[in-house]
Symmetry: C2
Amino acid sequence: MKSGRDLNPVLDRVDRTLESSLDRLFDFLRIPSISAQPAHAGDCRRAADWLCAELAAIGLDASVRETPGHPMVVAHDRSAAEGPHVLFYGHYDVQPVDPLELWHSAPFDPKLVRNDDGTARIVARGASDDKGQVMTFVEALRALRAEQGTLPLRVSIVIEGEEESGGANLLPFLQANRDELRADVALICDTSMLEGGVPAITTALRGMVGEDVTIHCASRDLHSGIYGNAARNPIELLCGILASVRDADSGRVLLPGFYDGVQDPLAEVRAQWQAIAPSDADFLGPVGLSVPAGERGYSAIEQTWCRPTFEINGMTGGYTGDGFKTVLPAQASAKVSFRLVAGQDPARIRAAFRDHVRAMLPADCTVEFAAHGGSFASVVPSDGPALPAALAALGAEWGHPAVTVGSGGSIPVVSEVKQALGMDSLLIGFALEDDRIHSPNEKYDLTSFHRGIRSWVRVLGALADA
Amino acid sequence: MKSGRDLNPVLDRVDRTLESSLDRLFDFLRIPSISAQPAHAGDCRRAADWLCAELAAIGLDASVRETPGHPMVVAHDRSAAEGPHVLFYGHYDVQPVDPLELWHSAPFDPKLVRNDDGTARIVARGASDDKGQVMTFVEALRALRAEQGTLPLRVSIVIEGEEESGGANLLPFLQANRDELRADVALICDTSMLEGGVPAITTALRGMVGEDVTIHCASRDLHSGIYGNAARNPIELLCGILASVRDADSGRVLLPGFYDGVQDPLAEVRAQWQAIAPSDADFLGPVGLSVPAGERGYSAIEQTWCRPTFEINGMTGGYTGDGFKTVLPAQASAKVSFRLVAGQDPARIRAAFRDHVRAMLPADCTVEFAAHGGSFASVVPSDGPALPAALAALGAEWGHPAVTVGSGGSIPVVSEVKQALGMDSLLIGFALEDDRIHSPNEKYDLTSFHRGIRSWVRVLGALADA
């Protein structure tokens, strides 16, 4: 640090005003901004408008900006005359909520629920991913401006509304607004800490390829008593195709060229991970599992942080309601995804999957594909002053040295920011692995929210002085 | 025939009153009596009440009789002092209607639609299976009673409301009412003619075993970016299990003992079928297919009439809505069925399937099964005077010799009538293979309905004289 900046009055203000910060987050969480479902397009715009108004109230130059899809929120704080310039990224859209019947309270009626140990959690869709995380940054700005009049550095903000639905419009938007958005470093708040309150900056992220595949056989649904056996069953066909993507014994994906360019982590990195990462039992136990299911020879955490995957995210065909219906359906479909690591090209992986499906198609059957996502893995370089400054600031807030980790998730913005703006990103988040993101009863610990705000106050101070 | 019974006045009345017969069928079709869906329980009862009232109006002693499920309609016509006694069976319940968006008109708003060739079809759920077919018999009774005062033979009727949802209550009901329901022969109207208006009596029926199988892995839905690879995916697991039931090359079901006791049809039967049955191209072409998909070495029609099958009737897991959701679900489920031929024991087939699934379950995973149906195949003996008399009557009506055929469908009532009442059944129906039963836009040709009524007038006359 270059200066002895006193952040304590700002941190005190964060503590003092936590209740009103929470009220604002709840207002945000009440907006059902599900980007994947066209019926919620109006809600996505409402969320953008709400966020824009909040940023303007803090004193930022904020605007809602159109895209071919859901709008972007862009804001600039020019209160700092000098110092580095950071670009903050988050997303205001959320995942769908089904299966709704598994929620203990309505997903868009946020609740503060007391835990058995006296702590509390915020329960709602988006509480953790990503509205709660976005608001840690927004509330940090509010406290800094309120207490000090100016921010310690220049801040720009872009919050998108399509992170959960492909995010096709982000890259063109960044490219089209390159001059306005370019800064020294990007700050992205969409990741987790380690269990037990160990703060972490994510430096390796996987890419993703998503595919929607539909197999068509007969021209209409058939009676299985009349046509069974004789007419091709698209569910059975799709089962066979999807089951053949992975070798059951080794757990390896069998698509030709899938592992081309994929490298194992360095021995020293593996050793560091072994020291800080949860064991297989600790990682899988909380979700009711004990044995890693994927590639042999890798721990569960290694599979997540450094190995590519194949997953079936959804599948449907035929009659799936109550009772029984002896239908032989005309079609069956599945949503599948691949998480990619450094060295893999999303376009090549997508083509390999499509070739594999087509090669297994018998006569009379056709296939349709729809692409979702498609991003390279990214690795954040550890040189330069920003990473150590941010790690130190997080360590000071959480009372535990901060660590660098890999992430199994895919945050395409990291490679898009690099591609469009030539900037590296720092991925700093306060979520926990048990936040149930994308699942019923998503939560964000009140501690994550509260100390997340305090963390950003410290990180912005540290980056200003780095 | 023993007598020169003149049925022409009755047949003329059928022709003259077709419009009011059609009005009554439409009233019946408007009742959404979907037995598999609990929300329609009241509609099932309404359908039973409606049918009971119609039979009483004709002059039968009709009643609605309680069961642990949907009620039965039972009726007796005692206007004939002598002659043989027949028991007619049909069902008033219908299949679910999804996918609703594929219907061109509302499934319970019946329409008479004109075909390009000037003929017409009745379009509604249940038009063919089985309300239209049931009403051919009811309207025949009405015309006979109206024209002649009495029926030519003694008639009892049982119409159930659970044929499409397992039919668990029929056998106990037949057993409990054995003295009341026992007759000389059962008449069942739930089968098809051959294409091109060739009348047929079905003499071989397959049995069925249905299973609902659900695989559970993690204790909750997971984020595939965090847990993908490392946590078992139940959809992928279920795909692998279901794909392993059948050998991809030979098309044979691989469950141990599956073909024990199964015999190929006699060479002379195969030759007869080859003469009358549609070719693979004729059978599969109308539904957009050209190549039989099942067991090698059997024609499509042989697969349907005399070979056992394995079918996946429905499958669901994970996210199946619009867009994409990178979920790794906690469970996946499928509905599967086996059609059985003579020699196969439904209990043994069910056990073999369950053993197969359990043997493939890895650590951490559990499976739940729910049984649906479970009936032996049945073969109707061709000795005695009833079969030739009915064949002759049908031939006279349709202007083409009637034939005996096998059916791929399962009509458990045949074996249940045999077991509970010791009676053989004649399966006489006027549906066509293209009736889209169990599918959107189900139809029943106006010709099937009209000449079906006329057929029953002739068949009842012929049986009275046989």
